[in-house]
Structure formats: structure tokens, C-alpha cells
Assembly symmetry: none
Homo-oligomer: 190 residues x 4
DNA sequence: ACCGGCGGGACGCCCCGTTTCT
DNA sequence: AGAAACGGGGCGTCCCGCCGGT
């Protein structure tokens, strides 16, 4: 039946998931609501009962992507991975092409910087949660130093991944990735 | 005749300069040609005698911005700055807000990654020139190692600047910037 | 049972009241059903059990507003007002801004002229009732002449109020109103 | 040839003429730009080089219609018509159905009252010009009294025409019109 | 022949009136 | 009576080409 209890929540989540992927793949301003709704199996008219505006969807999709990312890392932690493994999972050739499911920061940071403050706040929250998780893998987990180390490592990984995505020569991209891994490890060993 | 020789070149350059600033400020897909042409003091119709399409303009504006950035760094080298000063000039509070005249990579990387290959090639060229210039400030200038170090440092700086731009709390931004400077220095000292 | 008998009637009346105000304030075609239902404390889905379509609501809301207007005038008659007082109550500065509760004719006449015949019939009915009430204040109440006089006086008042509402200079509006009062009195004195 | 000198002015005027008719026929908010542009033989994209927004078009179309109306009356004056003839030309059965080419005030007044101030100012200007022309037909042309008389007469005519348009019974409409003519004449004879 | 005025479609986000299923 | 979605249309703006004027 079409209108179960919880149906609306499911639909809403589906829209967010689709948007979250599209935004990362094509960018926010290049992603139209029609395309998102169509991929979610809905028509344009069904958007506004769920969200006030595209801006709201951006905020929610961003938060959702960041939460997923943090959850994935937490999952890794439970599997007992160390910081090196975390870095290698991020700076990974597969990650270059899978922007749709990849790091929202690497895919969207400059555009987030142009969003209204409410969106930036949502990003900030998600980012800090992720950094806490990342810091947990460092030598002195929980310390202020660890969080700052995590920040720098994350900055390096994001920039490196973006550069690797933006060059046209795949072997150059690979080289950049590898060098990024080494530098990240160095930043982690202190 | 009505138009001096070189008039067309000047016009073309003006368009590129304006576009270069707008793209960095608002992003490529969010910048309309009308706005660019208007800011350049021209009408829409004057665009196509100069460029095949928006894509071409993106390529040219990107190259232009990268050349400017490289030239600025070269200027710094002639002034005798060291790598620390170069890093501090890049990771600078002023740079957070001046995206219009700032680093095109920090402003546009994810979008460049979504451009056609010809644009990525143009970016790659400009990037490599910039990295050569940056490597010249490192301990063993010219070495392959220096270039790879430069790549990592640049990745870190780009990522750090973007993150600082995307958070809503200015003091957090400042903290991120500072920690980025220290990490970049560490990457440079080996 | 969940709903008192008469609950449906109450709800229906509430929708009509809200619509009646909104239509006069914003116009029919500029008033959306969602807004009306929201103001009535209901959801969109609750509309169609009460009315076939927006057109039906327009008809009912119009009749309702006209009846209110007639009732108000009847009330005035019982208070013993004369025609001059009736005119002054209508052509009143307060009436300029209170379109939401004011004369539906002044607020909606051109739009009524574009409605389907059924709506026009409803308007005609309400109008004639109002004019009968107005004619009762004239020298020869009940006579055919009185009704025609009332028609002319009402036309004058409606047009005058509309013009006063459409000019941007408040003092000009006031002047128009005053001159309208005098002209209406002259039409009444024969 | 398509791009003569003055071509743009012609196009602009054509859009205004079409809009002026549509607004009077269907109302402002019920008239879409697409329909207007299509009737003008153009596509949607051609609208914005001519006008900033629909609001601007409304203002221009309104002014244009008022000027036409004033010019028609001036033409009548040159033909030597008297005030009675002017009233009869306005309160005319043909005028009921020809709203597209008829009095913009009768067609649009309530909607004008809901427009932004700039539009109301444009209306006010056009209205005053028309009233001056109408006052020229009264006993003491040029006097302040004549202008105020003209205002009242115009209010009466506008209201009467609107009411005649809004009732569904044609014979009732005719009766209203006739009574309106007589009342207008009475207002003029003082 | 260069330049640019002007128009063409398509699509952006937003919201409408309406229907269907619970 | 509510919940949810539909399909279409609102205005605005996009990128781009067809032509005349200088």
C-alpha cells in the first residue's frame, strides 16, 4: 500500500539520498530538482511537501553524507583499523571516480563556502564529528592535539583527492595520491 | 577605422579577467555569461566572436588565474621569501574572504574535476608550473622529491583553506588555518 | 463518534470565512487554496470533501461576504441610520485599508465579471438583496425608482472606493473619497 | 528585415499592446507571460531584454492603456462631443463585452490597488490626465470643481460598468447601464 | 568583416489546483 | 479528514545563434 505509516519519512530519506549522491557527483548548483525527484521516482510537485526549498535539501543532504562518512569511519574503527589504513581507504584510486558515494568535503567544499550560514553550520557540525572520529585513531586520542592533527590530515587528504580528480593524466593522479598518503602518514606520526 | 588594432585582444582579455574573478567568487556553473559580459561593459552578443562557448572561457580563465598565481609566487621568490613565508601568504586570514582574487584551485577544484578533459589538461599545465615554482623554495629545488613535497604541501594548503572557508565560526576557521600552517611547515622540513 | 454533528458544517463555514477574507484582500486568482486551508487550521486534503473545486468556494465565499454586507446594512437600518450615514460608513477612510473585511464588490468586481455564469448568478442575487436594503433608506423605499437610485449610488461608491485604493497619494485618496460622498448624497436627494 | 533601426522599439510596443489587452481581459495575475509573448509572436526568452520583470510590464501596459483612453477622449473632444456623449460612449453595451479594449480602470482597479507603489503612481498619473480631459467637457472647465465633478462621474461610470459586467442577466445589465447614464448626467449638470 | 543587438528555446525553482489512498 | 503525490504552469535566467549596422 502506498501510504503506510512512515511512508513519508521513507520518501524524504529517498530524496535526500539521491540528492546527496547527485550533489557530490555534479555539484549543487548544477543539480536540478527535477532530476533529483525523477531519480527518486517522484515528480516535481512532490518536493515541496518535504522541503521548504532547495537550500534546505542541500543542508540535509550534506548532513546526511557527512553522517554516513563518519559512520563508515566508526565502522572501520570497530574493525580495528589503524590511522594508516584509514588514510589509505580515503586516498584510494577507487575514491577518485566514485565521487557520488565519496567524501562530501572533497566534492563540495568550495560550494559549501558559498552557501548561506545555516548550511555552513550544518557542515561544521558534521565535520567536527568526523574529525573526532578520525582523531580517535591517532596516538593521543581525545587530546586537543589529536584533533588538530586530524584537521590537518583531513585537509591534506581532501586537497590531494581533489587535485587527483582534476588532472587529466591518470598516472599523474596516482602519483599525487601516493605522495599524499605518505605525507598524511608523516603528519600522523607525531 | 573604429577599432584600434589590438582592441579585440583587449576586449578578450577583459572578459577573461572578469570571468576569472567571477568563477572563483561564485563558481563556474553559478556564473552567468550575461553577468560577466555586463561587468566587462559589453553585451551578450559580443561573447561569441571571442569564445566558442562558455567552456572555452572557463579554460582560458582558469589558465589565466593559474598564471597569475604562479607569477605572484615567482615575484615572491625574487623578493627572497622562504617556504614558510610562501605558506603563510597562502594560508592567510585575508585569503579566506578574497576568493575572487585568491587561489583558483581552492575556489574551483571540485568543479574542475567535472569539466571536460580539455579543461582538465589546461588545469594540469597550470598546476605543474605552479608546483615547480613552489618546489623552488624547498630544500632540494629541482629534485623529484621536492616536486612531490610541493604537491603534498599544496594539497594541504588547498584543503585547509577550503575547510576554513566552509565553517561558519570564524575563530574555528582561524584555528584551522594556524594548524594548517604548522603542518605545512612540517611537510616542508624534510 | 469523533466529530460532533455540525462539526462538518462548522469547518465548512470556517473555510468560507477565511476564503472570503483572503479573496477580498489578495484577489481570487492570487489566493491559493493551501494558504486558505492553512489559515483555517486544516490540510489541503480536507478541502475537497467540502467543495467540488475552487470555483465553488469562490461562489460560496462571495455569497457569504455579500450576505454579511447586507446584514451589516440591515443592522444599521435598525439603528435608524439615514442614507447619508450609510454612505459615510461605506466611503470611509478606514474602509480603504480594510479590504479584507470590506465590500466584496469593491474588492472583486472585475474578477467576478470573468467568472463562470454560476458565480455571476450568485453575485447577482447577493447584489440585489443588498440593493434592496440600500433602497430602503431612500425617500420612496420599495419603489422601482428607489432601487435604480440605489444602484447608481452603489456604483458610485464602489468606483470611488476602488479609485481611492488605487492611487498612491493618501491625500488624493481622501479628496476622492470626500467628493464621492458629496456626489452620492446628491444622487440620493431626488 | 528583422533588425531595422527601431525594431526593438516596435517589438517592445507590440508586447505592451498585447499585454495591455490581456490584462484587461483576464486580469493581471491570471495573465501569463508565455501567453502574452506568444500572442506577440515571440518566445519567453525575448521578454527580459525588454522588461525587468512582469511588474514593469504591468506598469507600462497600464500607462499605455490609460494614455490610449485619454487620447480617445481627446479625439472626441476635437470632434466636439459634449459630456453626455462622452458618458454614453463609456456606458455603452458594447463596452461591457469589449473589456480587452475598454477602460483599464473598470477592468483592473482592484488589482491595481494591490500592486506595488510604483505601479500605483503610474496609475495615478494616467488617471489624473484622463480626469483633466474629462473635466474639459464640464460646465466650468479647468476649475477645481470641474475636476472633482469629473472624479465623481468617473467613479460612477467605472462602478456601473463593473456591476453590469458582473451580473449574469443581460437585461439587468442594460438597466444598470441606463440608470448609470442618467445618474452621471445628473452629476454633470451642476 | 568585426561587433553586437536581439531573439530562441530550454530549464531553473517554486507553487498551484486536484486526485488517490488511508 | 488527513497524508501524499501528480502534472502543469508561474516567472526568471540560462547559453547560444542569427542577423544587420558601422
Amino acid at each position: 500500500m502506498r501510504f503506510d505509516k512512515g511512508h513519508k519519512e521513507n520518501t524524504r530519506k529517498r530524496i535526500i539520498d539521491v540528492a546527496s549522491g547527485r550533489f557530490r557527483k555534479d555539484g549543487v548548483s548544477a543539480s536540478g530538482l527535477s532530476g533529483i525527484m525523477a531519480e527518486a521516482g517522484l515528480t516535481n510537485g512532490a518536493f515541496y511537501p518535504h522541503f521548504d526549498s532547495k537550500e534546505t535539501l542541500v543542508r540535509e543532504a550534506l548532513s546526511s553524507a557527512l553522517e554516513d562518512q563518519t559512520a563508515q569511519l566508526a565502522q572501520g574503527c570497530e574493525e580495528g583499523i589503524d590511522i594508516e589504513e584509514a588514510i589509505r581507504r580515503y586516498l584510494n584510486l577507487a575514491h577518485i571516480d566514485a565521487s557520488e558515494e565519496g567524501c562530501p568535503s572533497a566534492a563540495l567544499l568550495p560550494e559549501i563556502g558559498r552557501q548561506p550560514d545555516s548550511t555552513k553550520q550544518a557542515y561544521e557540525q558534521g565535520l567536527l564529528a568526523y574529525l573526532r572520529q578520525l582523531a580517535a585513531l591517532l596516538p593521543k586520542p581525545g587530546s586537543r592535539q589529536a584533533r588538530q592533527q586530524a584537521t590537518a590530515i583531513f585537509g591534506l587528504m581532501v586537497g590531494t583527492l581533489q587535485i587527483a580528480r582534476a588532472v587529466s593524466d591518470p598516472s599523474l593522479a596516482q602519483e599525487i595520491i601516493e605522495k599524499g598518503v605518505q605525507a598524511a602518514l608523516r603528519l600522523a606520526q607525531e
